[in-house]
């Protein structure tokens, strides 16, 4: 008697394994109520239309925030069921290849995360894979609720010269922020530099005290590319910096040469092991090993996701300011969602996108993510919901007042291939800092992108 029952048990458990393998591999299948997890989660109704949203948010605050907003949608719209089929991989580098495959094969997800700006426009819009969202922008009043700088970045003109909107920005991150250790700055009577000239004064003072002025982690070269952008912003100002990416500012101009020379000088103030560190390891250089100890470095220049890194490490002694030369200029990047032409249920996707763009939706997501809402009507989450941090409140104030410029390194200002060419030039420059070589390469990159002649 014993043996057969064991056998049955074995068969059952194998069957269960097979069944679970099947459900987990089919990403569009809505999970059953039992699998949905956290309390207050709305399960799929039996006849709900599935909507697949692909993102690269798999962990931490960003996944929590995205799941919260998805849950809100699913509870309010039982006829639909949105799933977050996340693909892990830094800043979407892995997600992008998988996504491109699906778009090419004509089976795109119903909506997917992509950096607003040229990463979306050049990769998906120009080849004709996306529908425009003009009706959403008009009916929801987004043309007045989103700042002009954002509208410029998410829109493109078609062949007849008509302007169309192609994606809904869900969050805004600021790329040009200077982070510093407050204790070190107070002890040495320093204030956050607002120009690059002041930066060198501060950096020399720190150097004299035996502190590495600037921590950089450019194991992913983009961190160094962001530094280059900050210098260009400081030297050229918002309009001419914009012009670099639209072809109206000359990359071979003396202004750019001056900026590159400044950039060369900045790189002499950084930690020696920058090329083996990631951005977060570099940010950790601001955190002293023990209370009262001297940190390895006093400043780092990084996007505002650094605040999340400090908070996670329990470090509170950090101050921030716009990156030198960037006061009043908000260099923005955003995660946005669009509508692929081959999405299965376009009405449902549009409904979901409406929530993503609304003030209420953005106030659900952004407090978790550490970013700020793109919608200027947002910013006051109702009581009982997660609230914004001190940094986020500061950034929202700046967001409303500042001039907005796009980030090249994060897909807003330039096509991915142009970004790749700039990164190639920067990688060579870091090993062999020769300004004329760098400038020649940057001029050529603009020509290859078919923006400059």
């Amino acid at each position: 008697m014993k043996l057969p029952s064991r056998r049955i048990l074995a068969v059952i458990s194998v069957a269960a394994l097979v069944a679970s393998a099947c459900t987990s591999s089919s990403s569009t299948t809505a999970p059953s109520a039992g699998a949905a997890g956290a309390s207050g989660t709305c399960a799929a109704a039996a006849n709900a239309t599935p909507i697949e949203a692909v993102s690269w948010w798999t962990t931490g605050g960003e996944a929590a925030g995205f799941n919260a907003i998805i849950n809100k949608f699913n509870c309010d719209n039982p006829q639909y069921f949105v799933t977050n089929s996340a693909i892990a991989g830094g800043a979407g580098s892995v997600a992008q290849a998988a996504l491109q495959n699906r778009v090419l094969n004509g089976t795109p997800p119903d909506t997917f995360q992509v950096h607003m700006g040229h990463e979306l426009l050049d990769t998906y819009v120009t080849p004709g894979y996306m529908d425009n969202l003009d009706d959403l922008y008009t009916t929801n009043g987004w043309t007045t609720q989103f700042p002009k700088g954002v509208l410029d970045i998410v829109s493109a003109k078609d062949s007849s010269g008509t302007l169309h909107y192609y994606s809904v920005p869900l969050d805004i991150h600021r790329a040009n922020v200077l982070w510093y250790n407050k204790t070190v700055f107070t002890a040495n009577n320093l204030t956050a530099p607002t120009t690059w000239d002041q930066f060198f004064t501060v950096a020399d003072a720190l150097k004299a005290k035996g502190i590495t002025p600037l921590a950089v982690g450019d194991n992913g070269i983009w961190a160094n590319g962001m530094l280059l952008e900050d210098v260009l912003i400081g030297q050229l100002g918002a309009d001419k910096f914009d012009g670099l990416w639209t072809g109206t500012t000359d990359w071979s101009s003396p202004d750019v040469t001056t900026a590159l020379t400044t950039y060369q000088k900045i790189l002499t103030y950084v930690n020696s092991d920058h090329s083996s560190l990631t951005w977060d390891q570099a940010a950790d250089y601001l955190i002293p090993a023990s209370a009262g100890a001297q940190p390895k470095a006093a400043m780092t220049i990084m996007g505002d996701w650094a605040a999340g890194e400090f908070d996670n490490k329990g470090f509170t002694d950090y101050g921030w300011a716009a990156a030198p030369g960037g006061t009043g200029i908000y260099q923005a990047l955003a995660d946005s969602f669009g509508l692929p032409s081959k999405a299965k249920d376009k009405d449902g996707v549009k409904k979901f996108l409406t929530l993503l763009g609304s003030a209420a939706g953005q106030d659900i997501f952004n407090p978790y993510k550490g970013s700020i809402p793109a919608n200027t009507q947002a910013g006051n989450p109702p009581a009982g919901q997660k609230q914004y941090s001190t940094y986020q409140k500061w950034a929202m104030g700046e967001w409303k007042a500042d001039t907005i410029v796009p980030s090249m390194e994060h897909g807003a200002a330039a096509a991915p291939s142009w970004k790749g060419a700039v990164e190639t030039a920067v990688t060579a420059f870091v090993a062999n800092p020769d300004v004329p070589t760098l400038q020649t390469a940057l001029v050529q990159a603009c020509k290859d992108a078919k923006v400059c002649k």
Binding site: D122, P127, T212, I221, D273, A428, A431, N432
Partner: protein, 330 residues
């Protein structure tokens, strides 16, 4: 002519795999070759023929020339070091030592680890830590911390230097005067950071070479060595003139296996240093991936793939021909 039933059933049995290989290997090679001659430079396929323009464009990129240099340097150092260490270990283990199996497993074990894991661990070991800059005390890490080395002069993975015949070298002028000036370029040199990658790769693969050599050593009849000993040969001369020549086929096989690994290397460098400072650890595979899937230049990406295929074929095809000839002789 009547075909035997055996023949029919054997053909039926191998047909599916022949078909699968024909489509998924050779069919896709031909497809990639075709893509490398078309425009396709956005996400939407564009089959406008452009001839060899994609090849011209990648050869015009200094990064690709550096990738070729890196591949050649990596291959030479990786094969030489793995063979030397593998042969040494095999000879040490072949001394009828106690607990031979334990040692054999210890040396082979790294091979069971994936290159990604090896890469991450060696990245930690070979990250130099911060040098004493700006008066800050040096904070060595990993191998520098272990051996008390100064991070300022032991840069390991982060060393951007390339050893090449520089203009201040004594033979620089001489080479230029005899028309060999082109070899005095940094693109013909040895990137120091790449040697750290070689170190990790050798750690992983030399145990495997040891096993190959061990099998070879065990296959050599003891009588041959006995006879030589009777004739008064020293152990070194026995190794040099009897054992080593008999190991030639093993050496060749090992070189082919290691050679094709090094030509295709991707995961190890990506996990350890990515492109490295100044592309000192960049590889054609990484370049191909970024060209095709980051920049959407699918035509150029395919061209890089074809060049990599030709490089590997240049190593593997002669081996297959040689192997076939051996079989015919035997």
């Amino acid at each position: 002519m009547r075909i035997s039933r055996d023949r029919v059933s054997s053909l039926l049995v191998i047909a599916p795999s022949v078909l699968a290989v024909a489509i998924f290997v050779y069919g896709l090679i031909i497809w990639t070759g075709y893509i490398s001659t078309v425009q396709w430079d956005t996400l939407r396929p564009d089959y406008t023929p452009v001839g060899l323009a994609n090849y011209q464009s990648i050869f015009a990129q200094n990064r690709f020339l550096m990738d070729i240099r890196n591949t050649v340097v990596f291959t030479i150092f990786f094969i030489a070091a793995s063979l030397t260490i593998g042969l040494l270990l095999a000879n040490l283990i072949d001394r009828q030592i106690r607990a031979e199996g334990v040692f054999r497993n210890i040396f082979v074990f790294p091979m069971a680890v994936s290159f990604i894991v090896t890469g991450v661990v060696w990245k930690w070991i070979l990250s130099p830590g911060q040098a004493a800059s700006f008066g800050t005390p040096a904070a060595p890490q990993g191998v520098n911390q272990l051996f008390g080395l100064d991070p300022a002069s032991n840069r390991w993975l982060t060393d951007a230097h390339v050893v090449y015949i520089a203009p201040d070298s004594p033979i620089y002028g001489f080479l230029h005067s005899i028309g060999l000036g082109f070899i005095t370029s940094p693109n013909i040199g040895i990137p120091i950071a790449l040697l750290s990658i070689v170190l990790a790769a050798v750690w992983q693969m030399s145990g495997f070479v040891m096993v190959l050599y061990l099998a070879g050593l065990r296959g050599i009849p003891e009588e041959l060595k006995e006879a030589a000993r009777v004739d008064g040969c020293s152990e070194w001369r026995i190794f040099r003139h009897i054992v080593f020549p008999l190991l030639t086929p093993i050496t060749l096989s090992a070189m082919i296996i290691l050679g094709h690994i090094s030509l295709k290397i991707y995961d190890l460098t990506v996990a350890m240093s990515g492109s490295g400072p100044g592309f000192s650890t960049d590889t054609p595979a990484l370049f191909m991936w970024q060209t095709a899937f980051r920049d959407d230049y699918f035509g150029r990406g395919a061209a890089v793939a074809i060049i990599m295929l030709l490089l590997v074929a240049g190593v593997v095809v002669p081996y297959l021909v040689w192997n076939r000839r051996q079989e015919v002789e035997a």
